[in-house]
Symmetry: C2
Subunit: 331 residues, 2 copies
């Protein structure tokens, strides 16, 4: 530990626990962003302060793709859907569009899948996994996350989570926050590994879910995935509705990266309690990707959200054991 956390004089007495004396976000560079985060958490957890928020109201919501893990050149969900499509029996590929997509999947043409909206991607996910039990689906998702390799970094998708975000999740959990992940698409793919990847229990992943039907086999009940998706697989207001259906309560901390997250951040920011909104900026082409997301910077400035630069604020990017040394070939 090279530097210690900045403290205001006299504030220490409110947080005497030794965990706070360690630097909580080691993969973040010290600066205004970590200051803002640490000050916010200190403020809402200080029981003698005017901004105190009791533990059961300390709700933090995180977007998934591009906020907690890499979403380029296509999301892990898109790659998973490709794999499952490529494995389908011909009789299961029953429409011309699906046949075209299956050909693209077999050819590894991920551009085609990157271009699909979340609703379509979620529909294909549901279609290609109908007939599985929840247990069988979880095995499929685990196999993919541990085995399929990212086309550029050559490491499993399950290791492309952002280490600074894992540290933020752990820091918040240590301060009695409950963290939720709001999936833009169907929740099941994220949920199958949320505990393993992020330490977030499955019931804290919000979004559209597949419907199940009941079957009996040898006197036992099996619940089988159908082709019906319940709820909305979408962004914007849909994400806020997802979190309210899951939780019924407004968050006080929200983290996102794209225009699809603006509504969630604005809603979080509209509460009467102290709130913190972070917008992740993908500006590191060397270590990850550089891309802009429709007006996000402008929205952040307009609303007073905190912009997190992956290039300037993250010491390390990925949680893979040698993630700090994985960079684009040729650089």
């Amino acid at each position: 530990v090279r530097r210690r956390v900045e403290r205001e004089p006299g504030e220490l007495r409110f947080e005497p626990e030794p965990s706070e004396l360690r630097k909580p976000l080691p993969s973040w560079k010290d600066g205004p962003v970590t200051d803002t985060i640490i000050r916010f958490v200190r403020r809402v957890t200080n029981p003698s302060g005017p901004n105190y928020v009791p533990p059961d109201e300390r709700i933090a919501v995180f977007d998934s793709d591009g906020t907690l893990w890499c979403e380029r050149p296509a999301s892990a969900l898109a790659f998973f859907v490709m794999r499952r499509l490529a494995e389908q029996a011909p009789e299961n590929v029953d429409s011309p569009a699906l046949r075209q997509l299956t050909q693209a999947a077999r050819a590894g043409d991920y551009d085609m899948f990157q271009a699909l909206d979340l609703r379509t991607l979620s529909d294909i996910l549901v279609h290609t996994n109908a007939g599985l039990t929840s247990e069988q689906f979880t095995i499929q998702a685990h196999d993919f996350l541990g085995g399929a390799l990212h086309p550029r970094f050559g490491i499993p998708f399950g290791q492309l989570t952002y280490r600074p975000m894992l540290e933020l999740l752990a820091f918040l959990q240590g301060k009695e926050f409950r963290a939720f992940i709001v999936a833009g698409g169907a929740v099941e793919f994220v949920r199958a590994s949320s505990e393993e990847l992020y330490g977030v229990p499955q019931e804290r992943v919000a979004g559209a879910t597949v419907d199940y039907s009941s079957e009996r086999l040898d006197g036992k009940i099996l619940m089988i995935r159908t082709r019906t998706l319940l709820g909305e697989a979408g962004e914007g207001e849909a994400k806020v509705r997802s979190i309210l259906q899951r939780l019924g309560r407004r968050p006080i901390l929200a983290v996102g990266n794209s225009a699809g997250d603006h509504h969630l951040l604005e809603y979080t920011h509209s509460g009467v309690q102290s709130s913190l909104c972070l917008l992740i900026r993908h500006d590191d082409a060397r270590r990850e990707y550089a891309y802009s997301s429709g007006g996000s910077l402008e929205a952040a400035v307009r609303h007073g959200w905190t912009i997190v630069s992956m290039r300037d604020d993250f010491r390390r990017i990925f949680s893979t054991p040698n993630g700090s040394r994985r960079e684009a070939p040729g650089r």
Copy 2:
């Protein structure tokens, strides 16, 4: 502590923590039922045993009405719906059936509401609370639970939770179980107080939820309850589907009291892991109510579930501070 927990010789070494040495279920009478519960928990939490279940798979599901709290002469939800209906402005009572129910509500005729199915009750709940924010609704629910009195016991509905079940929830939580409540009707009423009443976080209450719409006021976003109910407000298979949509995982422990819970218990019992199913039997007319629920006893015997007699297995019934002395008038 008059009696100590029964132990098998040599088993103690697997659970050396001192909390286990205290009697975990003080409001339960010692006997085969508490033995079954404690042995089951010991079995699945023993890391060197063949039936070990890792913490993230220790899921327990509880039915709500009649399992965690009193549901007679009508459920707390029914009484809450009555109160909200009686408060409605005339222009909000826009159908003949609703006008009839409103008259019944004003007259305190709870028999009429007890007879309504969960779907109808949930629809009226949604109707009478449309236009509120989630925060406003939570205040309504809290006011009711703390202020409205049960017609027989004369104590607030929020104190009619069963003390032995609160102890069971706490015992399981101490053993790293995650407990879920599966509401037959709309979740919001249970969810508004699940943390306060049971120590169960809101996101662990499964069932149908109301949809929200977004409004802007003074540049801030408000999410307003609509009249649309998402998901099924029902029993039987609907409860299993609710838990899968919320969690995506099969429970290992299930507690219910009525025919509407059988499917959930059977599903829990159909897993490959060790499981425990408890059926609460309402057989104590003196301290609570005595009523049978369509074939529940027969189902329990057929499937090998454990029957919990409120008369014989509970020392105390309610969690109200003087709950053990509250009995039917005239006895």
